[in-house]
């Protein structure tokens, strides 16, 4: 059993009067790909936003042994959490390389240029468009850019919010293969929120099912996808 990188305990989050998370607990172990599955409105995006300090929360969020709840987003990023938001969240008016450079905003070392080359190698589609504005890229390319940009901060934990959203199936498969490869080669810990249960479970080492703001089930991906009842009730295939 490897150590826990992120531990969330009794997390509640609300937007104004509306409570979205009703006290959830989960753990992301170092080196794992953990996935959170659930339907629209279950609170998946809110979970990630809560970790990044973008919503009001109560409860505890421990990252690498330190309590991070209540810290500002900018500080949490500096602790080593990178977040690929839903809908890519690239900087459309900035070029591909500027996007990557912005991703390294919190770093103070002099290997940024080398890292940009490295990630352009990993995603060759981006290399051929390095001077183009991000807004002119296709959806799939933007998603690659978003992942590469997040990796530019050299995070310890990568949060991905529905990376498959709005992409063609063949591109989704390619994307998940790459994520899986990054996980293996760089040892990158990931927390992926998905609706596309089939693909997410294929790469996951641990899975949680979120339903109406609480964790309904957690377990190994094989157990979840193997259980006929769970599959029908929560995963929809």
């Amino acid at each position: 059993m490897t150590e826990a990188l992120l531990h969330v305990a009794n997390l509640e989050a609300s937007y104004g009067e509306v409570k979205v998370l009703h006290g959830i607990d989960f753990t992301v172990r170092k080196g794992d790909i953990s996935v959170v599955l659930g339907a629209n409105g279950a609170g998946k995006t809110t979970t990630l936003r809560a970790i990044c300090g973008q919503v009001q929360t109560t409860g505890s969020i421990t990252f690498a042994g330190a309590e991070i709840s209540g810290e500002s987003t900018a500080d949490i990023v500096r602790r080593g959490i990178a977040h690929v938001p839903q809908g890519r969240g690239t900087f459309p008016e900035l070029s591909v390389t500027d996007n990557l450079e912005a991703g390294a905003f919190v770093r103070r070392d002099d290997e940024v240029a080398a890292d940009i080359d490295k990630w352009l190698d990993v995603f060759p589609v981006l290399a051929s468009r390095r001077d183009q504005l991000a807004g002119s890229l296709s959806g799939g390319e933007q998603q690659m850019l978003a992942v590469a940009r997040a990796m530019m901060s050299r995070p310890d934990l990568l949060l991905l919010d529905e990376p498959s959203l709005g992409l063609a199936p063949i591109i989704i498969e390619d994307l998940f293969e790459r994520l899986s490869a990054i996980n293996r080669t760089d040892g990158m810990t990931m927390l992926i929120v998905e609706q596309n249960a089939n693909l997410a479970l294929a790469v996951a080492s641990h899975a949680y099912v979120l339903e109406a703001g609480t964790i309904a089930i957690s377990g190994e991906p094989e157990d979840l996808s193997g259980d006929e009842a769970i599959r029908r009730a929560y995963l929809g295939y």
Binding site: Q54, R78, P85, G89, E101
Partner: protein, 307 residues
């Protein structure tokens, strides 16, 4: 009484004189427009108090330069720093607490600032006419008949270009410039890459105030008058320049400002049926026309509906 016969002056010397005048004033409008654009680009807010912040800077420069006898360069530099500091404070106290995506309260706050700063200047330095000395030597670079290019005219033009160059360099080459561009492009993602959005916008406000102060200090000696209302029509011309340039393009601000200056001194002066009192009206007409026909102006990005 109403003699509205259309006639257009075509005397070449006069035309040249007016073109040079257009560049002289237009560069000043462009510089103030650059300040407006910096804030619009970052926050999507039109800062109606920009002219008044510049006014305060001009009066500080006047107090230091004329009152205390400092060299005018130094006086203007110090007043730029002072207004930048003030703008940073304003951003922190009365701008940041409001939701940046809801523009109406922010505009109303800038209107409050407009009244407060204007009145502060009038109360502190009274409303008597004053004169701010020019940074540039008197005399002309060359003259042809009635047309002449003064050193100050050339100075303003080059200063405006220098400001544009400095802003572009800052945006393209520095880390804070990258942060500024990222924030103006996508606020939430800027947060997610670890950019501290508040201080970045604060920097934008401070920079805009310094630019605006310099623009005012360049322009006011040319207008030959300094009173608390001097920046008002200038602000309208600057808004027209910014709108023409596309509201979020630094380059567009300078070019738009110069075009508005040319419209003011060439078109309005040369066409007999436009009374010269209506030069502000011409600027308003430019704003209206641009927003109706091509809201993204000459160089603006096309995501224009930031209502």
């Amino acid at each position: 009484m109403f003699l509205f016969a259309v006639s257009i002056d075509t005397d070449p010397e006069l035309l040249l004189a007016r073109i040079l005048d257009g560049f002289r004033f237009g560069s000043g409008y462009g510089a103030l427009a650059l300040a407006l654009v910096m804030i619009y680009k970052a926050t999507g807010v039109l800062n109606f108090a920009q002219g008044e912040l510049a006014l305060l800077g001009i009066y500080i420069a006047w107090a230091l330069g004329v009152g205390w006898g400092w060299p005018i360069f130094l006086a203007i530099l110090v007043s730029m720093i002072a207004t930048a500091g003030l703008a940073a404070g304003i951003e922190r106290t009365v701008i940041r607490p409001f939701d940046p995506s809801n523009h109406l309260p922010l505009v109303i706050v800038t209107l409050g600032l407009f009244l407060a700063i204007n009145s502060f200047v009038a109360v502190t330095w009274n409303t008597d006419l004053k004169a701010l000395p020019s940074m540039f030597p008197p005399g002309d670079v060359f003259s042809v008949g009635v047309a002449h290019l003064s050193w100050s005219g050339l100075g303003i033009f080059l200063s405006a270009l220098a400001m544009l160059g400095a802003v572009n360099l800052l945006l393209a080459k520095t880390k804070v410039g990258l942060a500024f561009r990222a924030v103006s492009s996508n606020l939430e993602s800027a947060e997610l890459v670890g950019i501290r959005v508040g201080p970045t916008l604060q920097f934008g406000w401070a920079l805009a105030a310094a630019i605006g102060t310099l623009a005012g200090a360049l322009l006011v000696p040319e207008l030959n008058v300094l009173d608390p209302n001097v920046m008002l029509s200038t602000l309208v011309f600057a808004f027209a320049g910014a709108a023409l340039g596309g509201l979020d393009s630094p380059k567009g601000a300078i070019i738009g400002g110069i075009l508005v200056g040319l419209i003011r001194s060439v078109v309005v002066q040369s066409v007999s049926f436009i009374p010269s009192e209506l030069s502000v009206g011409a600027a308003v007409f430019v704003i209206l026309l641009v927003l109706l026909v091509r809201p993204s102006g000459l160089y603006g990005s096309s995501k224009v509906v930031r209502v």
